[in-house]
Amino acid sequence: MSDTLPRDAAPPMPPDPDTEDDVLVRVDNLVKHFPVRGGGLIRRTVGQVQAVDGVSLVVRRGQTLGLVGETGCGKSTLARCIAGLIPVTSGTVTFEGRNITNLSRRDMQPVRREIQMIFQDPYGSLNPRRRVGAIIGDPFAVHKVAKGAARKKAVQELMERVGLNPEHFNRFPAEFSGGQRQRIGVARALALRPKLIICDEPVSALDVSIQAQVLNLLADLQSDFGLSYLFIAHDLEVVRHVSNDVTVMYLGRVCESGPRDQVYDSSRHPYTAALLSAAPAADPDAAAERRRIILTGDVPSPINPPDGCRFHPRCPKAQDLCGQQEPVLEVKPGDPATHKTACHFPVQAGESLARVAGRERR
C-alpha cells in the first residue's frame, strides 16, 4: 500500500501454452440463454436472450485473465456461470481437470472454497445490517472452518492483510468508505484461500485514486498466495495493467484472445481496434494525435443477434461473407499460437481503420 505509483502488476509471461498442468479453469463452448417469456397466464417462452453464446477460455494458475467488452456483452453472465451461481445452458466448465458444470449445491460446496468472487458494487455486496466481522467470517461459518475466538482471530488477520484496521471488526459497512468496503469484499473472498478469484468489475465503482490501491492490493495478494484472477472490466487500461492474457467479448462471443501485449499492440479484430481507439488517453498529446474509429449504430439485441459475424453490421471492414458465415476463433497468419481472432478479414499491421470508417461515412 505504501507506493502510490501504479506499477506493472502482471507476473512474467505464461510458459508454453500447451502444458495442461498450469490450466486452472477451462471453459469450453459455454452457452447461457435466458428464456424470454410472453405475458399472460401460460407465459410461453417467446425467445432467448443469448447472453453467452459459445465462449471458450482458459485461466492459468497464478495468472490473470482479463475479460473486456462493453456493457451487456455477457461478461458478468459468464462469470456467474463459472462461479456456478446460475445454471449453464450448454458447454462445460472444468476446474483443475474436473467438470464442475451444473453441479448440485452439495457437490459444488467443495469447489466454492476454491472459487470466490469480488463484486462490482461495494455498497450492494455487503449486507448493511451485519457487522463487518460477521460478513468476513461468513465463509468460515458456511464451510464450518473456524469458530468463536479462532474465527475472530482469522477475520482480524484477514482485515489486517487487506489493509483494514482489525479493531473495526464490530463496525457496520455503512461506516466505511467505498475503497474500504471493497477491501472488505476482498477479505471475504480471500478467507478460504481460494485458487481462483473472479473479479466482476471490482474497481469500476471506485474513484481513480482508490482504484489503484485496490488493484495493487489484488496484485500483492496474487504474488503472496499464488491466486489466479478472472478479471472482468470495461476499463481497458485497468485490464492492461493487471492481465497476462486478455479476452475481448462482443455480444456473447469472443472476438479476440491472446497475451496482453499481442491483443493491445497488434489487435487483429476490428472490434478490439475500435475499442482500443475509443479508450481515453491520459497524455493530451497522444490524445490529439490518435485517430478514433467511430462505430455506427448500437449493439444489436442479444435476443435476435445478427447472422454470421455478430459484429458485421457495425464493422468498418465488413463484406458480404461476414453476414453469411460465422468466423472461427483461430490463429491468424503471422500471430503466435496463443493469439486467436474470430474474423474473416483481420486487421493487418499498419492498417488504419479510422480512415476506412471515415470514407464510409462520407
Binding site: 500500500m1 451461481l85 449486507n127 451485519r130 465463509p139 479493531e167 464490530n170 489503484a212
Partner: protein, 345 residues
C-alpha cells in the same frame, strides 16, 4: 493512496483505542435512542408496562380486597333491588357486576386474558407469517404461486363466520380463540414479508452469500431476515391491539373465553343490559380496552417513526414548524411552504 488519505488513516489508527476494539452502533441501538426521544412512544410504553404489571399482580389485588374474581357478593355487592353497586361502595373500587362480583378484579383478570391472547397470537402469527413470507418470496416459482394464493384466500375469508362455526363445533375456549386469531393474522404479515423478500433477494450481497456456498435457509434467516425486521416489528406491534379487539369481539359475541373466566369482551357483553343503571359497568372495561389498544397503536407508530432515520431531522426542526408547513403545503402545493413559513415568522 493519496498523501492526505494516508495521513488520515495514520491518525485514525493512532487515536483508536487498543485492545477493546471499536463497536459501531447498530440500527437497533439508533432506533432505540430515537424512540426514547418520542414522548408519545415513551408514554405508551409506560402504559403497556403498567398494564402488564397489573395483569401479573391481579391475584395480589384480589387478596388485598378479599374479592376473588369469580365470587359473587350477593349481600355487599348488590343493592337491595339486585342491581350492581357503584364505585367505592363496600370496598368495591370500581363497583360490581350484575351478580355482585368485583369489577376491578375482573378487569385485571380480563387484562391477563387480553394481553395473553394479544401477545401469543401475535407471536404465532409473526413467526408463521415471516417464515411463510420468506419461503414464498425467496424460493419463488410454484412454491410462491401456491403460498401467495393461499395468503390471498386467508385475507379474503370472512373470519367472524369461521369463528362462529368453529365455536359452534368445539365450544369456546382459549385454545380455539388463539387458534382462530392466529390463523387470520399471519397472512397480512406474510404478504409484506414476501414483497420485501422479493426485492431483497436481488441484492448483490445475497449473490455474494450464494457464491460463498450459503444455503437457502442460511440466506433467508441470516441475510434477508435482519433487513426486514423493521417493518415486521412495526406490524407486530400494530397486530397486538387488533388481536386484543378480536378476542374482545369473539367474547362479546359469546364464542370466546367461556364463563366464568373474565374477559373484557364478555364483561362488556354482560354490561349491555345494565348500562342504564350502572354506568361504571360499561365505562371501566371499555376504558381498559381503549387505553391498551391505543398504547400499542401509538407505540407501533413511534417505532415506525424511529426506524426511519429521517424522522430525527424532522424532530430537530421542531414540531410547530412541521405542522405549519404541512398546512401551508396542503393549500399552496409544493411551491408554497417556504414563503408562507417566512411570512408567518
Amino acid at each position: 493512496m493519496t498523501v492526505s488519505e494516508m495521513q488520515f488513516q495514520a491518525r485514525a489508527s493512532e487515536s483508536a483505542p487498543t485492545g477493546g476494539g471499536i463497536e459501531g452502533r447498530s440500527q437497533w441501538q439508533l432506533t432505540w435512542r430515537r424512540l426514547l426521544h418520542d414522548k408519545v412512544a415513551v408514554a405508551s410504553m409506560v402504559v403497556i408496562v403498567v398494564m402488564v404489571l397489573l395483569a401479573i399482580t391481579a391475584p395480589l389485588f384480589a387478596s388485598i380486597t378479599h374479592h376473588p374474581a369469580d365470587m359473587p357478593f350477593t349481600n355487599t355487592g348488590t343493592t337491595s333491588t339486585g342491581a350492581p353497586v357503584g364505585p367505592g361502595t363496600h370496598g368495591f373500587w370500581l363497583g360490581t357486576d350484575y351478580i355482585g362480583r368485583d369489577l376491578f378484579i375482573r378487569i385485571l383478570y380480563g387484562a391477563r386474558i387480553s394481553l395473553f391472547v394479544g401477545i401469543v397470537t401475535t407471536a404465532i402469527a409473526t413467526v408463521a407469517g415471516v417464515s411463510i413470507g420468506l419461503i414464498a418470496g425467496y424460493f419463488g416459482g410454484w412454491v410462491d404461486a401456491v403460498l401467495a394464493r393461499f395468503i390471498d384466500t386467508i385475507l379474503a375469508f370472512p373470519y367472524i363466520v369461521l369463528a362462529l362455526a368453529l365455536a359452534a363445533i368445539f365450544g369456546g375456549s382459549l385454545t380455539i380463540v388463539i387458534g382462530v386469531i392466529s390463523f387470520f393474522s399471519w397472512a397480512g404479515i406474510s404478504r409484506i414479508v414476501r414483497g420485501q423478500t422479493l426485492s431483497l433477494k436481488e441484492k448483490e450481497y445475497i449473490e455474494a452469500a450464494r457464491s460463498l456456498g450459503a444455503g437457502p435457509w442460511r440466506i433467508m434467516f441470516i441475510d434477508v431476515l435482519p433487513n426486514l425486521m423493521g417493518p415486521v416489528l412495526v406490524l407486530a406491534t400494530l397486530y397486538i391491539p387488533t388481536a386484543v379487539i378480536f378476542e374482545a369481539t369473539l367474547s362479546f359475541l359469546g364464542i370466546g373465553i367461556p364463563e366464568p373466566t373474565p374477559s373484557w369482551g364478555s364483561i362488556l357483553a354482560e354490561a349491555q343490559n345494565y348500562y342504564t343503571v350502572a354506568w361504571w359497568y360499561v365505562v371501566f372495561p371499555s376504558a381498559a380496552l381503549l387505553i391498551t389498544t391505543l398504547a400499542f397503536n401509538l407505540l407501533g407508530d413511534g417505532i415506525r417513526d424511529a426506524l426511519d432515520p429521517r424522522t430525527e431531522r424532522i424532530f430537530a426542526a421542531g414540531k410547530g414548524r412541521r405542522r405549519r408547513r404541512r398546512v401551508a403545503g396542503a393549500v399552496l402545493g409544493p411551491a408554497g411552504p417556504a414563503s408562507v413559513a417566512e411570512l408567518g415568522e
